[in-house]
């Protein structure tokens, strides 16, 4: 599975309150949540992401609350994948659960510039920056996490498991 898109960059410690501010947690429609993605840092993010982008973050991306609405807002705004130096654990698990690929990629925040065209191979973890020609190695995802992502998230994955058992 290769994912392509332009890089949109953020810094260290991007928290879930800026990814999706608390007042919007009352919404249950993913498309409504998507309108407010990253609003705390960039009120125009949803417009930028609409064509499909790859978010590049620094250390501790997604720190803070357990709100699953944060990765949902990113996914439905058009984010295809998040690459970061490191991730906060609840955000990381939630992203896999809802089918948003997240890869730990050491060095990514220094090598990739805003707007660079990236190609990410989920299977191998290879990250190509086609604008500056550099290649980075992201930490490969374990097989059972790849299965969840390939099924489109935990719900579809569990449904499939239940169907197989039946």
């Amino acid at each position: 599975m290769t994912i392509k898109g332009k890089a949109v960059k953020f810094g260290d410690n991007v928290d879930t309150d800026v990814i999706l501010p608390g007042p919007y947690l009352v919404h249950t429609d993913p498309n409504e949540l998507a309108k407010h993605a990253m609003e705390g840092l960039d009120p125009n993010f949803a417009e930028k992401a609409a064509d499909g982008v790859i978010v590049v973050g620094g250390k501790n991306f997604g720190c803070g609350s357990s709100r699953e609405q944060a990765p949902i807002a990113l996914k439905y705004s058009g984010v295809k994948c998040v690459l970061a130096e490191s991730f906060a654990r609840i955000f990381y698990r939630n992203s896999i659960t809802i089918g948003l690929p997240v890869l730990t990629c050491p060095g990514v925040s220094g090598r990739v510039e805003e707007g660079d065209m990236l190609a990410v191979d989920l299977q191998s973890g290879k990250v190509e920056d086609r604008t500056n020609g550099s290649v980075l190695e992201a930490t490969r995802l374990p097989e059972f996490i790849m299965e969840i992502l390939e099924d489109g998230g935990l719900i579809e994955h569990l449904k499939r498991r239940i169907e197989t058992n039946e």
Partner: protein
């Protein structure tokens, strides 16, 4: 093995586990609230599940926007209420029955030493104060727990934090906690466990220990934990306390001596941006908040009341006080603390999360600053993305409300 390894080994039916190993644990208790619950319920239905695995082990607490602050939140409450009814959930705490989830869980006896507890809220790690492995998870993973009673975990590396020294007057567990967050950093414990020990912790009240474990997640930790050495039993069910072996392995040990610690303040916009109060005094505040799952307990209200007794808050400052539970509210009433707050000019809220997450009851306008006893000072956390949150102890918040600027509670006490 250390205490977290022992609990996870026991929960997964293994003799031994080690860091990095992925295990599937049986869950002892699972908690949702009004903001993460509706999504968990939606996912539960989408999976095709019909009944929760154990209606005695699911705990539902309405606490974030309580009583309903809008039609939208009222609808969320209705979704949760209907689910509790449909699934015959034995432990459902509706409006006026409980309070802030992380206070209600231990208060009502849903937390026992040695257990594995998950909550659809990041501050679930608070229950580590009772010797349990407790961690926050997302809504859909919670739906999977509701359906199966199990969840996978990676056994974490554990950092041991040894706290020693006698706390100086007016320097509180919150100051110790903020100091540790400043040392370890917002990402210093990602995926890891934090075990707190040492003479200071052994002498610390349960209220204080809960502050330390509550903010473990602000360092990225999966769980914070303290070996239980005493407990006022709030449960009829049997439990077996667990403790680390003398030769248990830790990733590293962090030593903290608190005997000369000053009150601490986390300044905008990061929880690890911690400074001794002497470096931030005189910052003007518009609002002061005492409450939340971090510092809305009786010990916190007592320490704030001690400073506010016989005083008035400064002109131009709003002081919002929200006891963390119905039980604490009643105790505070009986001790006269609520009267002290009201005489000083405070507004008292019903037990709930209040303005901590910018939900309601004291949202900040553009350009405003708030000194708060809560746990996060991220951009926009308590309102406008152009507002400023300073985190401190309830004593520091009270002292600052009196002067209208960030104030060392030790000076306030001297004046009295």
């Amino acid at each position: 093995m250390n205490i977290l390894e022992k609990i996870l080994a026991n929960a997964s039916g293994k003799q031994q586990v080690s860091p990095g190993e992925i295990i599937e644990a049986n869950i002892d208790a699972a908690m949702i609230h009004d903001l993460t619950g509706p999504l968990a319920i939606k996912s539960f239905r989408e999976i095709g599940a019909k009944k929760v695995w154990d209606n005695n082990r699911v705990i539902i607490i309405l606490d974030h926007l309580v009583p309903a602050s809008s039609i939208i939140s009222a609808n969320l409450h209705r979704i949760v209420r209907n689910f509790a009814e449909e699934q015959n959930i034995q432990n459902f705490y509706d409006v006026g029955r409980g309070g802030v989830c992380h206070q209600v869980m231990p208060e009502k006896g849903h937390v026992r030493p040695g257990e594995v507890i998950v909550g659809a809220d990041s501050h679930t790690c608070t229950y580590g104060a009772f010797g349990a492995f407790a961690t926050g998870i997302g809504s859909t993973e919670m739906a999977a727990v509701f359906a199966t009673g199990k969840l996978w975990f990676r056994v974490p590396d554990v950092i041991k934090v040894e706290v020693t020294g006698k706390l100086p007057s007016m320097v509180t567990p919150k100051d110790v906690t903020l100091n540790i967050v400043g040392r370890i950093g917002a990402d210093g414990a990602i995926y890891k466990g934090l075990e707190f020990g040492g003479s200071t912790i052994r002498e610390m009240s349960v209220d204080g220990r809960m502050v330390l474990c509550n903010m473990a997640v602000e360092m990225g930790a999966k769980a914070g934990i303290i070996t239980l050495d005493y407990v006022k039993a709030r449960t009829d069910k049997p439990f077996k306390p667990v403790k680390s072996d003398p030769d248990a392995a830790y990733e590293r040990v962090v030593d903290v001596d608190v005997s000369a610690l000053e009150p601490q303040v986390a300044v905008p916009h990061s929880v690890d941006n911690v400074k001794p109060i002497s470096e931030v005094e005189d910052v003007k505040v518009d609002q002061a908040f005492i409450g939340s799952c971090t510092n809305g307990r009786l010990e916190d209200l007592r320490s704030a009341a001690q400073i506010l007794k016989g005083k008035k808050i400064a002109r131009g400052v709003r002081l919002v006080v929200i006891p963390a539970s119905q039980e604490i509210y009643l105790d505070a009433l009986q001790e006269g603390l609520i009267k002290t707050f009201m005489d000083a000019g405070a507004t008292i809220g019903n037990p709930n999360c209040g303005p901590c997450l910018g939900g309601h009851m004291g949202i900040l306008a553009e350009g405003e600053a708030c000194i708060s006893s809560s746990n996060r000072n991220f951009v926009g956390r308590m309102g406008s993305s152009k507002s400023f949150v300073y985190l401190a102890s309830p004593a520091t918040v009270a002292a600052s409300a009196v002067t209208g600027k960030i104030t060392d509670p030790r000076t306030a006490k001297e004046e009295a």
